[in-house]
């Protein structure tokens, strides 16, 4: 894949990529496709083969095997990377010295640095459960723990704390393993940031019909670990107490940036980047779940932790690094994105894109066809009524097929993007 000798890293070191996930792999490909032939070092806290966090719930639920969680089987990593440092969580970035510091104290100089270390799950406000350790889901190690916990014992009771996309994916894994799942959320409805209340209500009903217990508008106030066995008894703010075999926290994620203590790299919600994924520190780039980029629907710079964004930002960063090393200005900026989602829970498919918040100037239209509920949000932009958000909720028919409404989701998403671009 290495092209002609267009770019070379300077004497100060190679191109160093921190992390080995979607954004990193995409950047590596773009770097080589642009003809960069100099040395590349990748530092990851994980193993030698990159995995997809998206696949972890499918693996934990038993839908796919371990080997299928590594989606880049066809890539020739030897052509992309000269030095792959594994099991090595980077300790620090020293932007002044243009070096990264590894846990063994080793320092690696860089000509250009890409931070692509993704995110980790957080559990704001969930009470301590020690000595029981609740589960989370992001890495392959997390997936192995969840799989082990769900495997074997039938009818295990599992509390999924959090009603986000990841929460629903964990819920599906539980149901696939024959578990009894309870979903806990502080809001009145699930998927607070992406589902319109009409759709959320319907989805909640469908989940209850499939045996899921919902504890909405509730919070856990304390948890007491069980003696000898796994799990804990959780007390809720409505006075209820319930025993669970397992608790899975799916309350959101934060960028992996503990090693960025150097104030030269500006960090707010994520690393602040320009449209070529350049940070405030010279020669340092960031992409994927660590970076806050343009959310077209809100007009704000924020972290939209989605696979496709990570791939596209990584590509943009890789191409920009190659261009700068070849002495050219980068030309293809990252255009921004809109939040978008597709989530399955068994025979249910929920998809959404854009913004659905009701407000002045926004008009909500709901329709039902072929068993699917569609809610669309329109707003007047540039003097025209334009689609700015949608939800489609569909249930597969006996034959396992979703109706025509689902065939429209890509066209809706494009229409929303066109409203902003």
């Amino acid at each position: 894949m290495r092209g002609e000798n267009v770019g070379r890293a300077s004497a100060t070191g190679p191109v160093v990529v921190l992390g080995f996930g979607a954004a990193a792999v995409s950047a590596l490909c773009a770097l080589r496709e642009a003809g960069f032939a100099g040395p590349v070092t990748v530092v990851t806290d994980a193993g030698p083969e990159p995995y997809s966090p998206v696949l972890t719930s499918y693996y934990a639920g038993g839908r796919i095997g371990y080997g299928q969680c590594f989606p880049w089987k066809d890539l020739d990593f030897e052509a992309l990377i000269d030095d792959l440092v594994t099991a090595s969580p980077v300790e620090a970035v020293d932007a002044g010295a243009r070096e990264v510091v590894l846990p063994d104290g080793r320092r690696i100089g860089y000509a250009k640095l890409l931070i692509a270390t993704g995110a980790h799950p957080v559990a704001p406000g969930f009470p301590a459960t020690a000595p029981y350790r609740p589960l989370v889901l992001r890495t392959m190690a997390d997936a192995d723990r969840l799989r082990e916990a769900l495997e074997g014992v039938q009818r295990k009771s599992v509390l999924v704390a959090g009603t986000s996309m990841v929460g629903l994916k964990v819920l599906e894994a539980c149901l696939d393993r024959g578990g009894r799942a309870t979903m806990l959320g502080r809001s009145a409805h699930i998927l607070r940031s992406s589902a319109h209340p009409l759709v959320a209500e319907r989805l909640e009903r469908l989940l209850v019909e499939r045996g899921v217990a919902l504890r909405l508008s509730q919070a856990a106030v304390s948890a007491a670990a069980h003696d000898g066995t796994r799990g804990c008894t959780v007390r809720f703010d409505n006075g209820d107490a319930e025993a669970f075999d397992e608790v899975v926290l799916a309350q959101g994620a934060r960028p992996n940036l503990a090693f960025v203590r150097d104030s030269a790299v500006e960090v707010r919600e994520g690393v602040v980047v320009d449209r070529f994924m350049r940070t405030s520190a010279p020669d340092v780039f960031a992409a994927g779940d660590v970076a806050q980029a343009l959310d077209l629907s809100s007009g704000r710079e924020r972290v939209i932790g989605l696979w496709q964004n990570a791939v596209q930002q990584g590509r943009c960063a890789g191409a920009a690094i190659a261009a700068e090393l070849a002495g050219r200005a980068p030309t293809r900026p990252y255009p921004g994105s809109i939040p978008s989602n597709t989530i399955h829970v068994q025979d249910i498919l929920f998809s959404s894109a854009g913004a659905l918040a009701e407000g002045e100037g926004t008009r909500i239209e709901a329709s039902e066809a072929g068993g699917a509920l569609t809610v669309r949000a329109y707003a007047y932009r540039r003097g025209k009524k334009q689609l700015v958000g949608f939800n489609v909720l569909a249930v597969a028919t006996d034959g396992g097929l979703y109706g025509d409404a689902v065939d429209e989701i890509g066209a809706y998403r494009r229409e929303i993007l066109n409203a902003y671009l």
């Binding site: 978008s340 396992g400 097929l401 689902v406 890509g410």
Partner: protein, 165 residues
């Protein structure tokens, strides 16, 4: 390498469905049973100076150069076949997540009863041996053709030029 690609001229399409049938035959698709059609023919009505006009559009995956479905697939189930340039699905890796359906503005990804995505692969099994895609080979009016990309772009430019004079 000069690549060939499928080209469509709406002015020549009569909506006969020969392309859709040839596609089903080539790919052994039983749409009455479990199959999902890869090629569709849409009939579009419009008005032109008071006259009603009907256009027919034969549609399948366009194997876009910047294919968003490739970026969206988190499972490695979609890849570009280097030789033909076709965007190809590996159904055994597809998890049925519909991320490709969300990414494709043309509504091309369709899902079978097994939950996996299915779509046109530009007959790359035929084209690698020098045959054209089944749909283009059968088209009786020359609306669907399999042409070298440069020739197709050239013909398009000429058509546009003619429409101006």
């Amino acid at each position: 390498m000069i690549r060939k690609s499928l080209c469509f001229d709406a002015k020549k399409c009569v909506g006969c469905y020969a392309c859709a049938v040839a596609c089903m035959d080539q790919n052994d698709i039983d749409v009455v049973g479990d199959g999902v059609a890869y090629r569709f023919v849409a009939h579009v009505e419009g008005e032109d100076g008071g006259d009603v006009r009907i256009a027919h559009v034969s549609m399948a995956c366009m194997h876009c150069e910047a294919a968003e479905c490739l970026d969206a697939c988190p499972a490695g189930a979609l890849h570009r076949d280097e030789a033909s340039g076709a965007v190809v699905v590996r159904r055994e890796l597809c998890i049925g997540c519909h991320a490709c359906a969300m990414a494709c503005p043309f509504g091309i990804p369709r899902f079978g009863r097994d939950g996996t995505m299915q779509k046109c692969d530009a007959c790359y099994a035929r084209t690698r041996f020098g045959y054209g895609p089944a749909c283009a080979e059968i088209c009786p009016t020359g609306a669907l053709t399999f042409e070298e990309v440069n020739d197709a772009a050239d013909a398009k430019l000429k058509r546009f030029g003619r429409s101006l004079v």
